[in-house]
């Protein structure tokens, strides 16, 4: 199977052709926003954490990897100039894979207004370069889909998650790559997960990375919601049952590896197939995690409405008749009513993925997109909990 995508110099293939503006500190974001407003197909990524590099390495790594994402044609990297992250530190690894990248230091450029003027000139150059890309037929093996749930309710475990799981299996059979995440919501699923790999190291990784998430989110003296009373009234009896409902969206194919994102490195899929990952359970941050792994698209299951991203389109799947509206791309309510099978909804999701990859917009694409949230684990907490980064 093929789709029409934008071939990038490194061999990856974009389904969108966006110029990415990276604000390496929050102080230059206003300048970046001012520059961006005159252009279409521009996406803004801002580091809101601190303008220092120390303790901010996971965010730093993600800014680079998002710049390398195949949906990005070219980048403008901006710094105010008084922080410790230099734009070139972000730009160099991105230009190394063949992308066009320009840098700007606002202080050196003579202040706010002059930087805006210069930034617009740079954007004209980048947009002209970006427009030189044209869609051409490529194999579906170049497509990487992130799978995520949120706003979950009874219908998620019965209709949307199993339908997405069905899609994942079919997509992998077609030669594509799918990535799941949210390890916190896989507590209790370890046995099922390790049965899906023959590789002992991957099995150990699954166990230890889920345990790390359990440790991060259950620090003594702090409260973490694993299940709400509303979840239980909706029919969920145990955390394992909730996790199994969530797991259902990850299909049944062998798990090739668990992709990690941390202060030292970010993994990428090495071959087509199904991967687990450390993509966070928090929706906004997960999109940037998935973009960092190289995913071009996200399939999101929900009770209703919710989450969107400006760089990697989000296909929304819901089976909740009461909350469904024109934000939802795939209507899985037929499964709840007992008039449509999961197999049939799975086929529809595959069809939608190919359409969106070819350039069709999702129902909310271009409207009210979420911030590109750069979520990272707090290095001080990681150290206190003695959670190491290791491959």
């Amino acid at each position: 199977m093929e789709f029409m995508g934008y071939k990038r110099p490194d061999g990856s293939v974009g389904i969108r052709n966006k110029v990415l503006i990276i604000s390496v500190d929050e102080c230059c974001e206003g300048i970046a926003r001012h520059i961006a407003k005159d252009f279409d197909d521009v996406v803004l990524l801002t580091n809101y954490y601190t303008c220092m590099l120390g303790g901010n390495e996971e965010t730093f790594n993600q800014m680079i990897e998002v710049g390398k994402n195949p949906n990005v044609s070219a980048c403008l990297v901006i710094a105010m100039g008084c922080g410790s992250i230099l734009p070139e530190q972000i730009a160099n690894p991105i230009s190394k894979i063949g992308k066009k990248v320009l840098c700007m230091n606002c202080i050196e450029s003579g202040g706010t207004k002059k930087s805006i003027e210069l930034g617009k000139q740079m954007m004209n150059e980048l947009v002209e370069y970006s427009n030189s890309f044209e869609r051409e037929p490529v194999s579906i093996e170049k497509l990487i889909v992130g799978v995520k749930c949120g706003g979950s309710d009874t219908s998620s475990g019965i209709a949307s998650n199993p339908s997405v799981g069905n899609m994942v299996d079919k997509f992998v059979d077609l030669g594509g790559t799918a990535i799941g995440g949210e390890l916190m919501e896989l507590l209790g699923c370890e046995e099922v997960l390790i049965e899906r790999t023959k590789n002992k190291e991957v099995a150990e990784k699954i166990i230890s990375l889920i345990k790390n998430e359990e440790n991060r989110w259950s620090v003594e003296g702090t409260e973490v919601e694993t299940m709400s009373i509303g979840n239980s009234i909706g029919g969920l009896t145990t955390l394992e049952e909730k996790s199994m409902g969530a797991l259902h969206k990850m299909g049944s194919k062998p798990i090739i590896d668990v992709l990690q994102v941390n202060k030292d490195f970010i993994d990428k899929p090495k071959e087509p197939g199904f991967y687990l990952s450390e993509a966070t359970m928090l929706c906004g941050g997960s999109a940037v995690n998935y973009a960092s792994y190289g995913a071009q698209i996200i399939v999101w299951t929900t009770g209703g409405a919710g989450f969107n991203n400006p760089l990697i389109p989000v296909i929304r799947v819901s089976g909740n008749e009461d909350l469904i509206n024109d934000d939802i791309d795939i209507d899985a309510t037929g499964v709840m009513k007992g008039i449509e099978g999961i197999n049939s909804v799975g086929d529809k999701i595959i069809e939608k993925i190919v359409q969106v990859a070819n350039g069709s917009l999702t129902n909310v694409e271009g409207y009210g997109e979420a911030t590109m949230s750069l979520y990272q684990k707090d290095q001080r907490v990681e150290k206190l909990l003695n959670i190491p980064c290791k491959r």
Partner: protein, 113 residues
Amino acid sequence: MGKKMMLMGDKDIVATALDDIENADIVSIMSSDNQELYTMEAKEDIPFGNKIALRNIEKGERIIKYNVPVGECIKNIEKGRLVHVHNVKSQRVDIPKAFKEEIIKQMNINTEV
């Protein structure tokens, strides 16, 4: 065809309500591909999204849903009754007692049987 419940895995011993089921309703147990497998009688109210016991389940048995254990039975459950926090506990991180009581109260679950 009357009210429906869905079997999520072929080894499951519970099915999930796709309608609000009332005591004495005859319900259709459906496969996930929407085929009716058989019918059975509900022995109490089972609200939408909740689970029914497809056979008698004994204390100590593991509750199988999605073909895997999702909890442990802590009190014998008769076929046709509600399977929930009053007769099943987590084998991993159980719901705190006070929350369980609140769920039972809000759902008006009969814990005497």
